[in-house]
């Protein structure tokens, strides 16, 4: 038997959580050390996995099932086709590494939590376990199981350690949004589970390797793609279902905000891609030209709202909505450029927001306010924060030489090229060829708004007159904080300067999905007849 890398990465945080909960009350220090050790171990393992995968990249055109590495397979509830299968492809290996990094950063940042530190670390470990589980699950049921497992600690952590003003409201809202979304996806799961494929019997398995090659009837794809995709996309913050996200970001304690914006929102994007797009490609081709309108609203509206914010956390929260819109937009481009950009954007945005939230958390711990009108000249007492924050800002704007450029440029390119989509008919009375380039232009303009609000934040918070007597709690930064900041900044720069560390592996992970979509487009004879928007909608409603 091979060394169970993935099981250790996924299950060791759970074990750590149980041990931490059983520790006596006084030993909060040990809880922290244990959490740190667990995260370090999972960073080392996932780093090793990442390198190993990078050295054995599958060739283009390999089936998705064959691109998986480190596969582990055990029976769970075999009689109904539920199995414990873990494995990583290029994309998920990258995201596992990202989670390990952000998780480690989270433990470092929350080193000085003093209210019930044991419970905090235990729930944090559960959260990380849930996230890692989703990224590595190759079984639909397992994916769902871990997805739910990740949402619950969020609730508890926001409610207990969150920002006093909004925590109850935000935590409840977040939990209900995410769980409703995921359960609606799950109904779609069950329907697919029982749907006969290719005129044969129903699959009656949750094995995604089998699902990723099954051809579900078009009628089913047409009806169930939306629930399946949007249910998970709630977590990716797709407009108009993004509402939970800024509130949740703001109310959460720093480490949770980091995991939340940095990794958890990727969970939504990843899951909607893995089960939504990959399993129902024809549904994707059918609906994506419609969904791209939602994503453009995400990008523009998100950054416009961010522009208006005074609270730094809300600002970053809405910027996340805007940037996650770009990920979904990359999916909607339905070509390899778009998916590559989306994949890199997930990583880049993950590190970037983790960086942002840690900076804001550090300021808030000392100034006890996040209002940008009150903060001034923070570069003086907290000089370490300036450069990382600006680096993060530049990433958000897509400055060449940083990871943001590498992510956003392919997305716009992909959407622009999406104009040549091989659709033989029209959708909703519109042909994607006509409006995809326009969307690319508009969303590229959205970057200018990003630049504006980042500049504004930097100017207001870090520069200007520093009033030393106003702040009574202005401590210097801790060493661990600095380590985390440097770690995040370095990653953003390295990705930007050496794209080869990430682009090939992400590309290899996305290739099978793109291949599925291409096949679906070639088979897209269902678009022969010209239909208007209204008839399409009626067909959908009637079918459901």
């Amino acid at each position: 038997m091979e060394f169970p890398f993935l099981s250790i990465i996924v299950l060791s945080p759970i074990a750590a959580a149980i041990i931490i909960l059983m520790m006596p009350k006084e030993r909060g220090e040990n809880a922290r050390m244990l959490a740190l050790a667990t995260m370090l171990m999972s960073l080392i393992l996932s780093g090793y996995m990442y390198v190993a995968y990078n050295q054995n990249l599958p060739e283009m055109g390999t089936r998705w099932a064959d691109t998986l590495m480190f596969v582990e397979e055990h029976a769970w509830v075999p009689s109904i086709g539920v199995n414990y299968i873990l494995g990583v492809d290029g994309m998920s290996a990258t995201l596992v590494l990202l989670t390990a990094i952000v998780g480690l950063g989270g433990v470092m940042i929350s080193w000085r939590i003093d209210d019930r530190p044991r419970e905090f670390m235990a729930f944090f470990m559960l959260l990380v376990a849930g996230v890692q589980g989703v990224f590595t699950a190759v079984d639909g049921f397992l994916l769902f199981f871990f997805y739910e497992l990740a949402v619950l600690p969020m609730y508890v952590m926001i409610v207990i350690w969150g920002w006093k003003v909004t925590r109850e409201y935000a935590a409840m809202k977040l939990t209900l949004y995410l769980l409703i979304g995921s359960f609606i996806s799950f109904i779609a799961f069950l329907v697919l589970y029982f749907t006969p494929v290719d005129g044969g019997a129903a699959l009656r398995t949750f094995d995604l390797r089998i699902w990723s090659e099954a051809n579900f009837p078009f009628a089913i794809q047409q009806i169930w793609f939306l629930p399946l995709f949007l249910g998970f996309a709630v977590l990716a913050g797709v407009w108009p279902l993004h509402n939970w996200s800024p509130d949740g970001h703001v109310a959460a304690p720093t480490a949770v905000s980091m995991i939340h914006a940095g990794v958890l929102m990727k969970l939504g994007a990843y899951a909607s891609m893995r089960v939504g797009i990959q399993i129902l490609p024809e549904g994707t081709v059918y609906w994506m030209p419609f969904i791209i309108f939602l994503t453009i609203i995400n990008v523009i509206y998100g950054s416009l709202v961010a522009m208006r914010q005074r609270d730094m956390k809300y600002l970053i929260g809405y910027s996340s909505v805007s940037h996650m819109g770009l990920v979904t937009m990359g999916f909607a481009a339905m070509n390899s450029q778009g998916f590559l950009g989306a994949g890199i954007q997930m990583v880049s945005h993950g590190v970037m927001t983790a960086l942002f939230f840690s900076v804001v958390g550090m300021i808030y711990d000392r100034a006890h306010t996040r209002n940008m009108d009150d903060l001034d000249g923070m570069s003086k007492p907290l000089a370490w924060l300036v450069v990382p924050f600006i680096i993060g800002g530049l990433v958000g704007m897509g400055m060449p030489g940083l990871s943001g450029f590498l992510a956003e440029f392919p997305i716009f390119l992909g959407v622009w090229r999406g104009g040549s989509l091989n659709l033989s008919g029209t959708i909703f009375g519109l042909n994607p060829a006509n409006y995809y380039p326009i969307i690319a232009i508009i969303s590229a303009l959205g970057i200018i708004i990003t630049a504006a609000y980042i500049m504004r934040a930097v100017g207001k918070v870090f520069f200007g007159e520093y009033q030393g007597d106003k702040w009574h709690d202005m401590r210097p930064l801790f060493a661990l904080d600095k380590v985390a900041l440097v770690m995040f900044s370095v990653i953003l720069i390295v990705i930007g300067v050496f794209p080869s560390v990430i682009a090939p592996i992400v590309q290899s992970g996305m290739a099978p999905v793109v291949q599925r979509l291409n096949d679906a487009q070639h088979a897209a004879n269902f678009l022969d007849t010209v239909q208007t928007a209204a008839t399409n909608l009626f067909i959908w409603l009637g079918g459901a």
Partner: protein, 505 residues
């Protein structure tokens, strides 16, 4: 139907015989011990239930009986009154576990440290146990009454308290009426067939082509009336009105017992009467839905929705749990209305996990309210600081009730919804899921009280006796075990559920 008594005749009644012995032991023991050692009666009951449980499972493994291979004829024993099958075994396991856990959580409640209390719990369990096995309308009724009468007395057990007496009275009046209506339905069924044995009646309708319309109408009436009785037992809407008052007024450990064991017993007869053949043979939802089926579906939907929506507004934790248990009855009915072995198996699995979950929750309530003398939700503030252990048990119980992994409730709901989608009822699963979210709201509110809100008595820890600790740890273990490794248990209940469908083949 062999006229000679064989070993299986005795095997079929092992738990009842054991419980009778235990009953005698408890009553004698109560007379023999000193008043200050009364706490031990509960321990004796718990140990007794545990020994019977182990003996029953040991005999099952040792003799290989009951199993699904035995034909209907051979498994009908004692003058065809009871059927000794896997389904009965699974339900009996549930009842014995419930009895054991209830005894453990009752230990430290001073006013319940009486022989009569435990004796009545035991007779109630005997009734439940017989209900699960009964294969004859008369037996169903007798067993149900045995269980009910014990329950009525237990609900009003604390005679000094007006609330408790009111609960007992309400439960009795309501119950007597519902059972009366049920009995009328049964007599209609008897009038149609001149038979009382469920399996004989079932085989009369099975495969019968073209039942005359007037017979069908009477059959429907009988079904409706029988549903009244069973609906009362499982507290399904619109027969749920007693639930909140009885739950609130009755002694709390007994509330835990009635919300789990009694509900499970209700489902046992419900499943047997409707699936085993009497009415189950009239059709599956896919081919020709019977009228009573449509009625049950409507009941399912209303039960879940009403229970959940009303629970949101409760400020008393016992009332909240009462409405929550109404809602849970709704989920459980989903498995029943799929009319499939898969669905019934899912219902049984859900009941199994519900026993652990709900008794764990009530155990915490008992211990806390025993200490603080109140069962208002707001008095649970700061529980996580007063007793992290109790708060943790409650947290997992609440998670399990709302169906979030890694708890048993997640799998419970998954199996139910899966069965529903399989039967083509994906919309019912959707309604169930939306309901689960409404439920999440109030379950999480309770979590908020325990973990977030502060109280002035935070420095006053709540002691937990060892017996109660063991009971809670046992429940918590199974909540998590069934939530992580649900496979074998589900296989077991599903296999057991096929016993209900023995007639249909």
């Amino acid at each position: 139907m062999s006229p000679n008594m064989t070993l299986s005749w005795v095997l079929a009644l092992v738990p009842e015989i054991g419980l009778l012995v235990l009953l005698a032991v408890v009553l004698l023991y109560d007379r023999l011990i000193k008043p200050e050692e009364r706490r031990r009666i509960g321990l004796v009951t718990a140990w007794g239930a545990f020994i019977i449980l182990v003996a029953m499972i040991g005999l099952w493994i040792g003799t290989g009986e009951p199993n699904n291979a035995t034909g209907i004829g051979e498994s009908l024993l004692w003058g065809d009154m009871i059927r000794f099958d896997l389904a009965a075994l699974v339900f009996r396991v549930m009842f014995l576990v419930a009895l054991m856990l209830t005894a453990l959580i009752s230990l430290d409640v001073e006013r319940l440290q009486k022989g009569e209390y435990y004796a009545l719990l035991i007779t109630g369990t005997i009734g439940f146990s017989l209900m699960a096995a009964s294969a004859d309308l008369i037996m169903v009724y007798v067993a149900l009454e045995t269980a009910s009468i014990s329950s009525y007395i237990l609900a009003g057990f604390v005679t000094k308290e007006q609330r408790s007496s009111e609960a007992g009275m309400k439960y009795f009046v309501y119950g007597a009426f519902a059972t009366g209506v049920m009995l009328y339905g049964m007599s209609l069924l008897y009038g149609l067939t001149a038979q009382t044995n469920l399996y004989v009646i079932g085989s009369m309708f099975l495969g019968a082509q073209g039942i005359p319309a007037e017979v069908n109408a009477v059959l429907l009436l009988a079904a409706v009336m029988i549903v009244v009785g069973f609906g009362f037992k499982i507290s399904a809407v619109p027969f749920h009105f007693w639930t909140p008052d009885v739950y609130e007024g009755a002694p709390t450990p007994f509330t835990g017992f009635v919300s789990t064991a009694s509900k499970a017993a209700g489902f046992a007869v419900f499943l047997r009467v409707f699936m085993a053949g009497v009415l189950g043979a009239t059709g599956t939802p896919k081919d020709h839905p019977a009228m009573w089926w449509a009625m049950l579906v409507a009941m399912t939907i209303i039960t879940m929705s009403l229970g959940n929506f009303v629970a949101i507004f409760q400020s008393n934790i016992k009332r909240m749990f009462a409405y929550s248990s109404i809602a849970q009855a709704g989920y459980l009915l989903i498995g029943l209305v799929t009319l499939s072995p898969d669905g019934s198996g899912a219902t049984m699995f859900y009941l199994l996990m519900y026993i652990f979950t709900n008794i764990a929750a009530f155990g915490v309530i008992v211990i806390v309210s025993n200490r603080i003398g109140s069962d208002e939700l707001k008095d649970f503030s700061g529980l996580s600081r007063r007793s992290p252990y109790l708060a943790l048990v409650m947290l997992f119980a609440l998670l399990s009730l709302s169906g979030i992994p890694p708890t048993a409730g997640f799998f419970g709901k998954f199996f139910l919804f899966r069965a529903a989608v399989d039967a083509g009822l994906w919309w019912l699963a959707l309604i169930g899921i939306l309901n689960a979210f409404v439920a999440l709201y109030y379950y999480l509110s309770a979590v908020k009280y325990m973990y977030l809100y502060r109280s002035e008595e935070e420095d006053d820890p709540i002691p937990v006796s060892r017996g109660a600790k063991v009971g809670l740890a046992f429940s918590l273990f199974f909540i998590l075990y069934l939530g992580i490794y649900a496979g074998p248990a589900f296989e077991w209940t599903r296999e057991a559920a096929t016993a209900f469908f023995a007639l249909a083949g």
